[in-house]
Subunit: 463 residues, 2 copies
């Protein structure tokens, strides 16, 4: 079994072994119950460490692709429901990844909001988890302090410095992800009947959260450089909202970034009308370079960050930054409503940030996304799609097919085994839209390519 | 270094090595920077596995009691602030355990709400965490489903059956601990201005949570058999509250359990007045035997459980049980406010429940608590304290000193290095009380014994 491991590659060795074995099974049409060569043989023939091979096999067992029989090593498992059909790598990959958040089972989640599971990297994370579990009894057992684990808050302060945001550790509050951070802000600062400004298109769960709290939504159009400042000015003047929510970088769903000029204008307006400004920057670590942060320009901005988009959505670790007085109020609400966040999960994050493993992870993710984004933009251009402000980083491209008939588009997507996001969910008022959120990390899959080709006007596909 | 390991003991071997080494350092007054015998020597002379000794040493390094120098093995670390004074086991134990939730640094947290960190057991938990981290990629990375990890919900259904509560997995919603479960209930069922009935004395964080939501609290006196049902009847009649919150077993702070007669009367009243009944049963697993559950008698009861009191307060895993329609509403609120709970932490719990390790853990904790509770009750009797309904399980004894002057009692506690809980926090209206919450797990510490003795009237201590 030759696995073609590339030691210079961005993908960790164990993940390469996993991918290589899936590929080997698929390429050779290896039938269920076939015994694999021994771990020692696989390791020797690929110049690998045996423990890496065992780790990869254990993962494949957990994913239901291999089975383990004591004394006889590993064998190819029967894929549930697959009968004896030949396994295609894409089939296995989507079995492993599951339907994905908002996607449909067995379909490519082209409109998805996060990284595919196959892009996630477990080596450093598993190691850090094991280390904390073995050595940090306090993090393993105890309730957290109200602000969250000090070691994590100190690491967050260091990372914020990289994007020119200055903060003390006492101004950081850890949360169970960015949505929990937004929830704490809403519960602490807003009351039913208040109005706030949100971007359109924008982050759908924020709209649900505000509505749950009885808050009235005012929509400001998102341009490729940030919110439309003229429209914002007139909303602030006309309705006296309490707060403005802006997703500064690689905005969900448009992928666009705030320009310095727009940021300055937004800050000026919010100051003039005495309105709270909340900066949602959950895609910060997928940005190439520094970029413009509202929180770097004005220390009254409330800043929200997360590790769910890069490291793990499962650990539920995010944070917010605000002035000391507000942080204490937010911390009180956090404790009353949940007795705090998970010290264990926060200790794992702190360890990965301190060791540099997180920095290297996001650097690899950015490089990979850059390659796939360039290819996706090319594929969209070839298929005559219109792109909303060519994104320079992050996960998303917001784009419009040459023929925007929604029924036709869904049929084309279905024919290519592709699942799209419901465009109207990104509109605060649920308005229909011709635009699609294209997740760069899925856009190089052959099914996405086929879908894009099928939407070309000059070469219609038959369905 | 002879460690006196007892292979039949309830405490896991690695924890015994940790305790034994602390004891050895303290007993022999071993000064900082002293090199320990080699791991091999320690293992051989105590008939131990070397890896257990290494694990124990690593924990002691993490706790700052040992230091590790590459090539030279382990040595005794300098205790911060301890200078060269001889280390007492109790001093080290409290350094390791930290101040504890609500306790004072360096004091015995006799009024504390949870198990001491030294009672927690890490072996099975660390192992399960490592296993999930190495093999369950989906739990490591992905957002959870709205109801929470199916494997965990199925295990919870099985455990509930042991206390005669029948449920489907689709009626279980996982939460980030019991307080988060209560928060979801409050957000979903109550609105500002509503009235609810709570027990007095009762669980302080619930009062804060209800007040944060603008809900009005009606107090019903807690008797040793549950809420005072006559008082409850008159509150229901007079104020038409929306819900009643009852802590059924080993209530916090009184340690008392609901009797069958009171449970039936409460259910009858809630049915007659069409009031939602919420059963908080977070001490369920510290109960000897089955006992009476409201949710076992009536399937309209909303039931709240947690693993924070037994396994870990850090993982933040709890759950609630309700009818299908309400569970779906609660799940929606859960997703909107946090995008769900941590699949990783839930997978760890599911694994410990499935393997039986959790069942064995709580059985050991119950045995240990039974021994310490009997001793604590004897110590209180010897010191002429009055005990509120002798508890038959759980963590707490609610008791009153023979002389209840609060200033005198605080002075006596201070003189014995003991920290007490503020009794008025258990009253919804913040009323002062002569009663003290005594945490059984701390009550056998020499400092607690000294404190009890010091409160005796016939033999006053000099301070």
């Amino acid at each position: 079994m030759e696995l073609r491991i590339d030691r210079q590659a961005m993908v960790p060795v164990v993940q390469q072994i996993v991918d290589g074995m899936i590929d080997w099974i698929a390429r050779n049409g290896v039938p269920p119950s076939t015994r694999l060569p021994s771990v020692r043989q696989i390791a020797r023939c690929n110049l690998l460490n045996q423990s890496c091979v065992v780790q990869a096999c254990e993962r494949l067992v957990a994913q239901g692709i291999l089975a383990s029989r004591p004394g006889t090593g590993f064998m190819v498992a029967a894929l549930p429901g697959a009968g004896s059909r030949r396994l295609e790598p894409a089939t296995i990959a989507s079995t492993v990844a599951g339907p994905g958040r908002g996607g449909l089972p067995g379909k490519l989640n082209l409109g998805g909001g996060g990284l595919p599971e196959s892009w996630r990297e477990s080596d450093d994370l598993s190691y850090a988890i094991g280390q904390v579990a073995r050595t940090d009894m306090s993090s393993l057992f105890s309730y957290s302090s109200p602000l969250g684990l000090p070691a994590l808050r100190e690491q967050i302060v260091k990372r914020l410095r990289l994007v020119n945001v200055q903060a003390d550790a006492e101004q950081i509050l850890t949360t169970g992800g960015a949505t929990h951070a937004l929830d704490l802000i809403v519960r602490t600062l807003l009351k039913a009947g208040d109005s706030v400004v949100v971007e359109s298109p924008g982050y759908a769960p924020l709209f649900d959260l505000l509505r749950l709290h009885g808050v009235h939504l005012l929509e400001v159009r998102r341009t490729p450089n940030g919110p439309d400042t003229d429209a914002l000015a007139s909303l602030l003047e006309q309705f006296q909202p309490v707060a403005v929510f802006i997703n500064s970088h690689h905005q969900n769903p448009t992928g666009s970034c705030l320009s310095l000029a727009v940021a300055q204008q937004v800050l000026k307006l919010c100051k003039a009308f005495d309105v709270r400004l909340i900066e949602d920057d959950v895609y910060a670590d997928l940005h190439n370079g520094n970029g413009t942060r509202l929180a770097a320009l004005d220390d009254r901005v409330i800043y929200v960050g997360s590790f769910s988009k890069t490291l793990s959505s499962s650990l539920r670790v995010g944070f917010l930054l605000a002035d000391q007085e507000l942080i204490n109020r937010l911390a009180r609400v956090k404790m009353i409503c949940s007795l705090g966040t998970s010290s264990f999960n926060e200790a794992v994050l702190a360890s990965l940030l301190a060791s540099g493993a997180y920095r290297k992870l996001v650097s690899r993710q950015r490089q990979r996304l850059n390659i796939d984004r360039a290819a996706a933009l090319q594929a969209l251009e070839d298929a005559d799609w219109e792109v909303f402000g060519k994104p320079c980083g992050g996960l998303f491209i917001w784009a419009r097919a040459p023929v925007t008939d929604p029924v036709r588009l869904r049929r084309q997507a279905h024919g290519s085994d592709v699942s799209l996001a419901m465009a109207q969910t990104f509109s605060p008022s649920g308005e229909a839209s011709d635009w699609q959120r294209i997740n760069v990390a899925y856009a190089c899959d052959p099914r996405a390519r086929q879908f894009f080709r099928s939407t070309r006007v000059d070469r219609p596909q038959a369905f």
